[in-house]
């Protein structure tokens, strides 16, 4: 058994929280730059330029790209040959978030109870997804997610007879209804299959894949491409003020499902779709 002390996990998460929030990933950055050329709206081009300038400034000054530095969503894959020592893993993860949000001057946006609504003051607890895998490594993905876009996400419990057209129409419906609210240009994560909670997790996980990448499953990759074209014909445009850049990328993940169902989750994200990963 390989031993890993929890302090390593805390340090790693602290660093990833700060990096993810202050430095836009290259895939999104270059996708924004590339979209300038095709953007038909002059206001749209102006907005895209401001968004790019903002990302440059944030990186230079190590300042949050967006003030909504999100709830920290953390995926941890733990190899079954790893023995974690030195304390509670969940406490160590939350300690990393606490330190990252404090030392990185990131906004504390978490309330401890959804109805009583008192800010916890340190952005904890994080939303943590644990998975056990083979091997002796720990893979950590930190994906801070703002709520302007999170609030526009939906789950559609379709019937098998709705088929692929039903899935495509659900994705387009969700993007259309989101309109200007989630800070377009958006990035869209889609989960198909599983059950109610599995499809939502798949949609979230789909957002970890770089914009511009394709699914390994050919028909899913075709659907990603087709939906991207359809979404960008909606006219919503940057910030919803009209234009041809509505969505930068649509990533789809699929999983087995029940004979009676076809669940589809659409997790809308913004042009500040963030994540960072590391392996310990």
């Amino acid at each position: 058994m390989r031993e890993v002390n929890v302090s390593k996990i805390t340090d790693c998460i602290k660093r990833l929280c700060i990096d993810a929030n202050c430095s836009l990933n290259d895939d999104i950055y270059f996708s924004l730059k590339n979209s300038l050329e095709g953007e038909k709206s002059p206001i749209g081009r102006d907005i895209l330029n401001q968004i790019i300038k903002n990302a440059d400034l944030a990186r230079k000054k190590c300042k949050p790209i967006c003030q909504d530095t999100g709830m920290a969503v953390i995926f941890i894959e733990i190899g079954q040959d790893v023995h974690i020592t030195g304390g509670s893993l969940t406490d160590a993860v939350n300690e990393g978030v606490r330190q990252g949000y404090k030392d990185g001057f990131l906004r504390k946006s978490v309330v401890g109870d959804p109805l009583i609504r008192v800010n916890t003051g340190d952005n904890t607890p994080a939303v943590i997804h644990y998975n056990i895998t083979e091997g002796d490594k720990i893979k950590i993905d930190v994906a801070p997610k703002g709520f302007g876009s999170e609030n526009m996400s939906k789950i559609y419990m379709l019937k098998p007879s709705d088929g692929i057209e039903g899935v495509k129409n659900s994705v387009i419906d969700c993007i259309k209804k989101a309109g200007p609210n989630p800070c377009p240009p958006m990035v869209v994560g889609v989960g198909i299959g599983g059950n109610f909670e599995k499809c939502a997790c798949l949609a979230k996980k789909a957002l970890l894949r770089p914009v511009g990448s394709s699914s390994d499953i050919p028909y899913i990759a075709d659907m990603e491409r087709e939906l991207l074209v359809r979404a960008n014909k909606l006219g919503i445009g940057p910030q919803g003020l009209g234009g041809s850049t509505t969505v930068l990328g649509i990533n789809i993940e699929a999983f087995a499902t029940h004979i009676a169902g076809l669940p589809v989750a659409v997790n809308i994200s913004c042009h500040v779709t963030r994540h960072r990963s590391a392996v310990i």
Binding site: N54, K63, I65, D68, F105, R107, G235, G237, G242, G243
Partner: protein, 183 residues
């Protein structure tokens, strides 16, 4: 052409602004978002006066990130405005003339804007670092316990925006996307 706006914004000034106008705002504006709106109006119902006189005032729907040492403010872009739709008709009635945010508003808000004379200006969502450069000073004036959601008094200089909904109800979110929609 950019239109310079200096706060406070009178009802007449708000009525003179038209959807599509590119503006730069200079002067004092106040941040307030979900929790501050709720507390302001609930307190008012209990007879506790507003912490800020809303007459001819500007509210920026935003909650800043903490300032680093030597900076006036952290990143401070707009938050999604529809969450304030429950409160804005009343704040407009109480004297508010200018709202800065991003995203759609409902009919009750636009009706109040038309009735009293108010304007809704869009700032670029997700451009918080860039917008923070226009903020010259920031102080918490009420509800400090709410952290980022407290009411902050900001002095801004050439804060960039675009008039999205004007006091006649013209709305860029309704007029612009159809121009770029393709079959």
């Amino acid at each position: 052409m950019k239109i310079s706006i200096t706060t406070p914004v009178t009802r007449d000034k708000a009525r003179s602004l038209k959807a599509g106008d590119i503006v730069e705002i200079t002067g004092v504006i106040y941040t307030a978002r979900d929790a501050a709106h709720k507390r302001m109006l609930e307190n008012l119902d209990k007879g506790i006066p507003l912490p800020v006189d809303l007459t001819d005032n500007t509210i920026y729907f935003a909650g800043p990130a903490p300032a680093k040492p030597g900076e006036a403010i952290g990143s401070v872009g707009p938050t999604t405005s529809y969450r304030m739709d429950a409160y804005s008709p009343r704040t407009i009635e109480l004297g508010l003339t200018c709202m800065i945010g991003k995203g759609a508003r409902n009919k009750a808000v636009t009706d109040a804007m038309k009735k009293y004379g108010a304007v809704y200006i869009g700032a670029v969502g997700g451009a918080g670092a860039l917008i923070s450069e226009c903020v010259k000073s920031c102080e918490v004036v009420a509800y400090e316990d709410l952290g980022s959601e407290a009411i902050h008094r900001l002095e801004v200089e050439a804060f960039p925006g675009i008039v999205i909904i004007d006091s006649e109800g013209n709305n860029l979110y309704e007029t612009e996307p159809p121009k770029y929609a393709e079959k």
